[in-house]
């Protein structure tokens, strides 16, 4: 595998990991904009804009866009997070030029009024769909509670009110100020020549507007709190909790990954043995959610409403123990093996490499090969985990609960 990179005059960053041994090539435009870059009056615009991109340009109608991607058998989609809007596709190498031209064109869409009006209905349906998924609602409300007053608290989808009120002119202005080449990283992984990537980029992206937007990445200072959202008729209580963790650029992030896997992976973790194996909960997991400047350890629990208090208390004891005593050498070793295998397996497909390749560049301007990741993992020590816990202990600072409970058990 070979790594290449270049920055165009307009600021577009291009990174590629070339691998002649695979059958496909995956590419993604990582646009550094998401809900945290919005203001309240345009809440949800980044995600809505992600949809509108597929409505096409003067040259390509929405129908053309859908048809042409399907004509080349592209496996493609897009996603929006708090921080990044990502447009990606995996294709057979011979179809890369067509798929590439399409994505690089539609990133600067026409944003026609009638398309805007129609797609608004689809966005409202998407909000409706997630509204019926308690685990998703728990996550969204937790972000709002934990990061209250901080940009990370903003909802990705926006609300029925904010989307209904949003105007096409507001979206056009947002697009104009955020879809600047300096905000975009193109990552390419798989079976392709570097010269092909360079040619395609020069041909289709050179004219993109230059510029970059600033983002306030001040670390959040969460005050914590409890929010209970009663859902009459529900069977299970879904509880999400968060406390501060190392930011995405921190060297502590590798230790945070390992720690949360030891503590709260979906199998063979401390939470698993305490709560899932005996049937006390349906889900009990801990994850490391890293963002630009501020991150969170997120605990997720699903169980019967009458067991919530006991289970949260049990989690609290588990966290206190690890904060005090750390993890064992045995746990560390097993978890390293588990994560190493995940890294290798995921990397076998170009699509699996794409998000790692792109995120490393977007967040840290660094290239890390699979071997680099494996080496860093193997070098982690108990002392590293100890240092992490000193700075960022596990906790249950902010809590959101959705389910039959009307108030939180004392």
């Amino acid at each position: 595998m070979k790594f290449e990179q270049e920055t165009l005059d307009n600021g577009l960053k291009v990174v590629a990991e070339l691998n002649p041994n695979v059958h496909s090539v995956a590419f993604g435009f990582f646009v550094r904009t998401g809900s945290r870059d919005e203001t309240a009056d345009v809440s949800g615009v980044s995600h809505f804009l992600e949809h509108m991109v597929f409505k096409g340009t003067e040259k390509y109608s929405a129908e053309d866009v859908n048809r042409i991607f399907d004509e080349v058998g592209a496996n493609y989609n897009a996603s929006t997070s708090e921080e990044v809007t990502l447009f990606y596709a995996a294709v057979l190498p011979e179809y890369l030029p067509v798929a590439f031209e399409m994505f690089s064109s539609i990133l600067y869409p026409s944003l026609r009024d009638d398309d805007f009006k129609m797609e608004k209905q689809v966005i409202l349906e998407e909000i409706g769909m997630y509204d019926d998924m308690p685990t998703f609602t728990a996550y969204e409300k937790l972000m709002q509670t934990h990061f209250a007053g901080h940009p990370l608290s903003r909802s990705i989808l926006g609300s029925v009110e904010s989307i209904t009120a949003l105007k096409a002119e507001q979206m056009r202005a947002y697009h104009e100020s955020h879809y600047l080449a300096g905000n975009i990283t193109l990552a390419v992984a798989g079976n392709v020549e570097w010269s092909t990537v360079v040619d395609l980029t020069k041909k289709h992206c050179n004219h993109w507007p230059a510029g970059e937007t600033a983002r306030d990445t001040t670390e959040a200072e969460p005050a914590g709190g409890v929010l209970v959202l009663p859902k009459p008729g529900a069977f299970q209580e879904h509880v999400a909790q968060m406390c501060p963790a190392p930011a995405s650029a921190s060297p502590l992030r590798f230790a945070a990954d390992v720690l949360t896997t030891i503590m709260g992976d979906d199998a063979n973790s401390r939470l698993y043995w305490e709560l899932i194996e005996p049937g006390r909960a349906e889900a009990a997991e801990l994850s490391y959610n890293d963002y630009d400047g501020s991150s969170g350890y997120m605990t997720f629990l699903t169980c019967s409403p009458e067991d919530v208090k006991e289970n949260l208390d049990a989690i609290s004891v588990i966290y206190e123990q690890v904060n005090k005593n750390g993890v064992t050498a045995e746990e560390l070793e097993q978890t390293k093996n588990k994560i190493a295998s995940r890294i290798v397996l995921r990397s076998e497909r170009p699509m699996g490499r794409l998000s790692t390749l792109g995120s490393n560049w977007v967040y840290r301007k660094e290239y890390r090969s699979v071997e680099d990741d494996l080496e860093t993992l193997q070098r982690l020590t108990l002392q590293d985990i100890h240092d992490l816990l000193q700075q960022y202990p596990l906790g249950q600072l902010s809590t959101v609960a959705i389910g039959p409970l009307e108030s939180f058990p004392k």
Binding site: S24, E125, G128, M133, N268, G279, A283, R342, E348
Partner: protein, 414 residues
């Protein structure tokens, strides 16, 4: 298409071992299926298969539950054991040189699980939690309830089990299910990756050679079939499910059916996505898929939409299903074929996808179709074949099910 190196070997006791050597990968994936799915559960005990799947991993051979997990983690094995309608299937992937150690653990799980009483009690409580959580997710519930209505027993059982039946299931029921169903006759082991077929076969002869037993008989399936076409639920969206008959994987017309379903719902230029979402903005999620059992199959269609637009969504969707034989174009067909070509070639990058595909082919067809053959079949289909298929198997006798605050009117005369 890549040239595939596939070998098939059947042990004396009936276990079929199928290997595919893939040269560009470092990993190996396993899929092992036994005839122990929901169709073999005793009537009124839906959940036995899922409980057995939960329990098999909770101790096997000399290892307790924790020792199994630790051993798999140390080998870097990603794995799960899942109950289905026909089979219980263990799927796993790891770095190829760890395959021999992994297979030893797998043999313990299938031949010597401990199936302890106290573990069973814990699995049962856990299963109840899972089933209750499904009731909180109307979209998940819809597919389970739709299958209950469009297939006949025993094929309509939920592979997750049922809250009603759960209290009736004893530890002995699960043990009996294991004894009847964890057998080499009808069991299929598929392995794909950087592997050597002869080494695998000789190791499997040692590990699985002593395994014995005949295929179990199908359950009578005498339980009543639900008939209501609406389930009331206080939700923001109405979930719409529509099912009708299609041909199964083993049928000579399967690829025509596959093409028809893809014209309806494969990719964002497909008819349902275009007519229901793009042109009318009626929903975010809509799709249809071909759900195939060994002897029969259904097209299962799904749409989720806010309540006041649900009737229009249902009407437009049914109209599209009914009109599938109208104006089938070369361009639609070409897109299905292009998508199939990409998907088939990219399957060669995934050992997990190949291992499951080997098992699936052997189970349904009794032979392996190479990716090249699949592509040839798909590319030999013409528009008139799709039209002919759609007219022979029209969207009629629709089973419609909705979950939401209000029932809808089904205009189609069923």
């Amino acid at each position: 298409m890549p040239n595939q190196q596939i070998e098939i070997h059947t042990l004396d006791n009936g276990l079929t071992i199928i290997t595919e050597k893939m040269t560009a990968v470092r990993s190996a994936a396993i899929a092992l299926s036994i005839p122990a799915g929901g169709c073999y559960e005793p009537s009124g005990k839906n959940g036995v298969a899922s409980l057995l799947s939960d329990l098999m991993l909770r101790g096997a051979g000399g290892n307790d539950s924790r020792a199994i997990s630790v051993a798999f983690d140390n080998l870097g094995v990603q794995y799960h054991l899942s109950p289905g309608w026909h089979q219980i299937t263990f799927s796993a992937a790891t770095i190829a040189d760890r395959l021999p150690e992994t297979l030893r653990l797998v043999a313990d799980i299938f031949l010597r699980p401990q199936l302890k009483q106290d573990s069973f009690e814990m699995c049962k409580i856990g299963r109840e939690q899972t089933l209750r959580s499904i009731e909180d997710e109307p979209r998940q519930m819809l597919m389970i309830e739709l299958r209950k209505r469009c297939y006949t027993p025993p094929w309509n059982r939920s592979s997750e089990g049922s809250l009603e039946n759960l209290p009736e299931i004893s530890h002995q029921d699960v043990r009996t299910h294991f004894q009847n169903c964890s057998v080499p006759t009808g069991a299929i082991l598929g392995i794909a990756g950087d592997v050597d077929a002869s080494q695998i076969v000789s190791q499997c002869e040692q590990l699985f050679g002593s395994w014995s037993g005949e295929s179990p008989s199908l359950s009578q399936g005498s339980e009543p079939k639900p008939t209501s076409n609406h389930i009331e639920h206080d939700s923001t969206q109405t979930q719409i499910g529509i099912a009708y008959r299609a041909v199964p994987y083993r049928d000579p017309d399967y690829y025509r059916a596959w093409t028809a379903v893809n014209i309806l719902s494969g990719g964002m230029s497909s008819r349902l996505f275009t007519k229901v979402r793009e042109e009318r903005g009626l929903c975010y999620a809509i799709g249809a898929s071909l759900n195939t059992l060994k002897e029969e199959a259904r097209i299962l269609c799904y749409a989720g939409t806010t309540n006041d637009r649900a009737q229009e969504t249902l009407d437009v969707t049914i109209e599209e299903l009914k009109n599938i034989d109208q104006n089938v174009t070369e361009s639609e067909l070409q897109r299905c074929q292009a998508r199939a070509k990409s998907a088939l070639i990219m399957q060669e990058e995934s050992t997990m996808a190949r291992a499951s595909s080997l098992v699936r082919d052997w189970f349904h067809l009794g032979h392996i179709t190479t990716l090249g053959e699949v592509r040839e079949r798909i590319e030999s289909i013409h528009t008139e074949d799709v039209v002919a298929y759609a007219r022979q198997h029209p969207a009629s006798d629709l089973q419609v099910l909705t979950i939401g605050p209000q029932p809808l009117q089904v205009s189609e005369s069923t």
